[in-house]
């Protein structure tokens, strides 16, 4: 098989990888904020419940979670299994939202109380204080950790193959198994490097953009 043919065949897997990546970000970024509000809630049972949930999600392998989402409904309730890709997306979104929520929480808690108080004595509402005063400062502070997590996501997408979703690694494995050539499996490393390189540049750019102020 020529280099060109391999590249073309890998493209399908690569597109699936990218699809997982973007859809998970789209879902997990806002869902993480909802979980943060839960884990910082003044209502004790809600806080306790959310933190237990985060503990379970962060405390078990993502691979296991993918398997559970795909096979669980059928085994437990006898329900029809979700489409494979949907199961992958659900598991990834919940998993990454839990990690994001902890990054958000750390960022929010690092903002000095004086910022909230300054907003309060100026008669701002809680909403205004959060969205107009605090949020931007939080985003600036969490950017480095978010960059880390997002780059990890690119590579974690390879876990989707555990329930036979054809992403980049599985696409390469299929070629290896079918054609008896080994190099495509190493070749896909370049795809990951390319994407994470682009993300590194993007995050550097964002951090630089936000560097117009200190504090």
């Amino acid at each position: 098989m020529s280099f060109y043919d391999v590249t073309r065949q890998l493209m399908d897997g690569f597109l699936a990888t990218m699809m997982i990546f973007f859809v998970v970000l789209l879902g997990a970024l806002p869902l993480g904020l909802v979980i943060t509000f839960g884990s910082m809630s003044k209502i004790k049972p809600l806080r306790w419940l959310t933190r237990t949930f985060v503990w379970i999600i962060r405390g078990t392998p993502l691979m296991l979670q993918i398997i559970l989402v795909f096979y669980g409904p059928g085994l437990i309730f006898g329900a029809k299994a979700l489409p494979r890709m949907t199961a992958v997306l659900v598991a990834f979104i919940v998993n990454y939202a839990a990690y994001f929520s902890e990054i958000y929480r750390g960022g929010i808690e690092s903002i000095p109380a004086g910022q909230y108080e300054a907003g309060q004595v100026l008669g701002m509402t809680k909403r205004q204080i959060f969205f107009k005063v605090v949020l931007f400062q939080v985003i600036k502070r969490i950017m480095p950790s978010m960059g880390n997590e997002v780059i990890t996501l690119v590579k974690d997408t390879s876990l989707a193959r555990v329930i036979a979703v054809t992403e980049l690694v599985k696409a390469a494995e299929d070629i290896v198994g079918l054609k008896g050539i080994i190099w495509p499996i190493f070749y896909i490393g370049a795809f990951y490097l390319l994407v994470s390189g682009a993300l590194t540049l993007l995050f550097n750019w964002i951090e630089k953009k936000m560097d117009y102020y200190k504090g």
């Binding site: 004086g114 910022q115 108080e117 309060q120 008669g123 701002m124 809680k126 205004q128 005063v133 200190k214």
Partner: protein, 266 residues
């Protein structure tokens, strides 16, 4: 008529009483300096006036309206509390400017948000909103020139000295035109070389008839600028009177000891 009347304010934290019944009143345009050692309750008192701390007991009247009563505070909506706290302005020891906004936006932000919310709630037309925003900007620029920082209006807080930041914070507090402006040790976080410019601005406000409460460690400032000086110790008003009387003829033993200590510090 008293602009401010404080009646029997009490506050405990974890069973320890920090304010043990504070009573005083102020006339319009008066400047009150509060002195006392750390832990005497000065800052807590200011925070009570600004609704950052909820007193356990007591009442606060502004222009004869009861704006705070410990008995009914829990029945008030968030909106009511917001409206009531705007009788007071507060300048913090640590400035607490919003770092991501430039100087002008720091001053205009609160009013700008109010106006935009009113527009979103369809309480004004787009033209009215634009007019109101322009007015807010013009007012803010006036205040910035009053504190001598108009040429810095596009700078960010991190580009300013501590003294300049505090002057912006004063302009920001003035933007909402509070009945009573409070200062919580406004120069304590500053280099000694920078305290002068901040104190000059505060003194300038006195001539514009603004009612002010200044918690301070600057005895000279309290003596020269305040109309009345309050000495607090252990959660009570130990002595309250004209500056001359407080500084030259103190009656309480605690005040004598405090002043002797302060003089030694110089």
């Amino acid at each position: 008529m008293a602009v401010l009347e404080v009646k029997n304010i009490r506050k405990s934290f974890d069973g320890e009483e920090v304010l043990k019944g504070i009573d005083f009143s102020m006339e319009k345009g008066e400047v009150l300096a509060i002195i006392g050692s750390s832990g005497s309750g000065k800052t807590t008192l200011l925070r009570c006036l600004n609704f950052l701390v909820t007193p356990d007991k007591g009442q606060i009247f502004v222009n004869d309206d009861c704006i705070f009563g410990a008995a009914d505070i829990h029945t008030l909506s968030e909106k009511q509390i917001r409206e009531r706290r705007l009788h007071f302005g507060l300048v913090f020891q640590s400035f607490n400017l919003f770092p991501q906004y430039n100087v002008l936006r720091n001053v205009t932000l609160a009013e700008e948000l109010q106006i935009k919310d009113a527009y979103k709630a369809k309480k004004m037309t787009k033209d009215e909103m634009k007019g109101a925003l322009a007015k807010v900007t013009a007012h803010a620029e006036g205040l910035l020139s009053q504190v001598g920082l108009l040429e810095k209006k596009n700078a960010y807080p991190c580009e300013l000295s501590g003294g300049q930041q505090q002057r912006v914070a004063i302009a920001r507090a003035l933007a909402l035109n509070p009945d009573i402006l409070c200062f919580d040790e406004p120069t304590s976080a500053l280099d000694p070389a920078l305290t002068g410019e901040v104190l000059r601005v505060i003194r300038g406000l006195k001539s514009s008839e603004r009612t002010m409460i200044v918690v301070t460690h600057e005895m000279e400032f309290a003596r020269r600028v305040a109309d009345k000086v309050m000495f607090m110790a252990d959660g009570v008003i130990e002595e309250l009177g004209e500056p001359e009387q407080i500084f030259t003829n103190p009656k309480s033993e605690k005040l004598k000891a405090f002043l002797a200590n302060a003089a030694e510090g110089l």
